[in-house]
Amino acid sequence: MRSTILRISIMVICVLTAVAGVQAAPPQREKQVVYGITPWTGKEYGGTFAPKGIDKIYLLADSNNVINTLETEVYFWPITNEYMANWFESREVVEGRLQILQDGKEIMVLERQPYNHYYPDGFYAGTSELLIGEEAEKKLQEYRDAIEGYWQAVSEYRQAYADYEQQMSEILKEVTETGKTYTEDELPKPPEQPTPPIWYATEVTEGFIVNLPVGEYVIRTIDDGGNVVEGTEKKLKVFDKRRSGIGYQIIPESKWTRPVQSDDATQILYMEGSRTMYLKAFYESEYNQHDFLKMTSLEQPLAGEGATSAYMWVHEKEVPSSIKVQVLQGGEVIKEAEYKPYYVKQTPGYALGYEIIEFDPEAEEFAGRRPSFEAVKLELGPGSYEIRAVDSSGRVLDGSVRSIRSINVVPMWQLYLLSLLPLAAGVVVVIRRRRMRGQTAKSVSA
């Protein structure tokens, strides 16, 4: 009931603010105590915050999440319907501890801990790990050392390169003046350019590391005097995935930019006639849509609204390309295909305007090019199939079985005719009954 009222009031607020937004251009800015949230989303660390107007926070169960009590300037941006925080100009840490309650009883009190994010594959590629305490400091130090080492190497490289150029110009001078010849081996080698470390670690900051089992909680920030900091009491819902499985992305050869997705066994792949397609398999988890969207986009009051009974699959990471996809017909494995790199080659004469060919790194044709995608290629003729993913030891991955069926295009009149069968039966019954009645009536009157 309360959440219903909340929801309605959010709607009203949104409409009002939307209307207000049209009239008054600069949104109202307000200093507020908020929770900055770095939730683990099953795939990566997200970032959101809970301003004054939002009283419930969502986190995934049994994972490390970061929450931080901060004071900042908040405003509502009506165009995108979200709260914004002016982190760059105002961000103050609100001192204190985080108290967590369940059923009105305190279950833990957290102190701020130092943490940072470590990106093993670089900031822009892949996911990060959350490092806490000494580990964070250590990783940051390693990173700093690595960067320092890199700069060291760069300056050494510059020196070496200058030396090299010096030598080369001297040789050149000698050659032009004396006509002396040098074999390639006799020439000095240019120094090798150092590469910067691709991995990355962020600065160490402090926050509350929250890791809880599924449940409904209340959190609040307690200052040194033991008092609750005003505006810091909020509800916290910790939820978990409903299912996990294997999801497929299916790239049709005929529309390679428009992949389709099959997330569970009820999602059958239908095709017409014979088709060629490219499959990518993902580990995936299924979450309540409302809770998941609240967790990732809490600053958007509309996110996940009305989706309390909807579930969504989230593709988390690609399965290792060592897996194979088996095609079965009538329970027998008839084909097995593996991951290969493919290249989409624009060929104007071709019907589709392109063709998808296997990428061969050795071939001259592909020199200097990268594969368009890596996937498992399936070519299927008319019929009904099942596919499944198996790992290198031949074990079937849970939740990886799917049906693929090639449909027959039936003329509609056949289906309509079929529909009329019951009516025909009914007419027969009724006529027979009439006739029976007629006979008995006749026999009576006779």
């Binding site: 949104c14 389709v260 009820t266 009305g306 909807a310 049906s403 069926r405 289906l415 529909s419």
Partner: protein, 276 residues
């Protein structure tokens, strides 16, 4: 003989008479064909979807047409049972039954079983024809279709019980029929719209659509224990999750719903009386 045996006999005799008159009438056949024709429209659009896209991922495209056919069939049966209770009362034939060894429990159970048996017959016809369609189109009949077919019986049971309750609750046949149709259409609309909204991606939803979804979601949650379709959805969800506990509890809830409605119908019939 025990009370139960007497009652069983009354149920058996009354239900048999009614089934006979249903089978001998044209109505049920017209409805079956109508249900198929409507569901063929969906089959057709699904066929078209696949041919136009070449490749398409969807849950068994026969599920929804089958659901529509089942809903049409069950609604027709609920309507006829609603009308037949009111009509029998108005004609006085109900009163005559109660002169003899018939009580409200026997009468309501007879009406209920009659419709359920008729529905089972209908489902068998549906299954045969949908089987032929699945073969013709190669849409196939997978586990989710089997789940749908199995749960459709529970759906029909709860829709018929719902109709019986309304027929004993309302003074006139017209009121109960109108109420039944209005409520079922509302339940169905909320169910279908909620289903569509839930399957839409939340990201590219306009603000207005979000409000619509919030409203529908609230309605849907309010109706989930009242609407027969709420029970079907829980059953389908449980089947898809493959959790035996959930399947059993959703079946149990659906049966309980039906039993409660029937018990209420018996009480209302007792209270209202069987006379004109």
């Amino acid at each position: 003989m025990s009370k139960m045996q007497y009652r069983a006999n009354a149920i058996n005799v009354i239900a048999r008479r009614d089934i006979k008159s249903t089978v001998n009438g044209l109505g049920i056949y017209v409805v079956a064909s109508l249900a198929f024709l409507v569901s063929m429209l969906f089959v057709r659009s699904n066929l078209k979807g696949v041919t136009e896209n070449g490749l398409m991922v969807m849950v068994n495209p026969l599920n929804f047409p089958f659901f529509i056919a089942v809903t049409i069939g069950a609604t027709y049966l609920a309507l006829t049972s609603t009308m037949s209770v009111s009509r029998e009362r108005d004609q006085g034939t109900l009163e005559v039954l109660f002169y003899g060894p018939v009580d409200s429990v026997a009468y309501i159970m007879a009406k209920f079983l009659e419709q359920l048996v008729t529905f089972l017959g209908l489902v068998i016809v549906y299954m045969v024809i949908f089987f032929v369609i699945s073969k013709l189109t190669n849409f196939g009949m997978d586990g989710s279709f089997a789940a749908m077919a199995g749960l459709s019986v529970l759906l029909a049971a709860s829709i018929v019980a719902f109709g019986l309750l309304l027929s004993t609750l309302c003074r006139s046949a017209r009121t109960s029929v109108i109420l039944l149709l209005v409520l079922l259409v509302l339940f169905l609309a909320v169910d279908i719209v909620a289903g569509i909204l839930n399957s839409m991606s939340a990201k590219d939803m306009s603000v207005t659509l979000v409000y619509v979804r919030v409203a529908v979601d609230m309605l849907n949650r309010g109706l989930q224990w009242i609407s027969p379709f709420g029970y079907l959805n829980r059953g389908m969800g449980a089947m898809n999750l493959g959790s035996a506990k959930l399947i059993l509890s959703s079946i149990g809830a659906s049966l309980l719903y039906t039993i409660v409605l029937l018990a209420l119908a018996m009480r209302f019939l007792d209270r209202r009386g069987v006379r004109k």
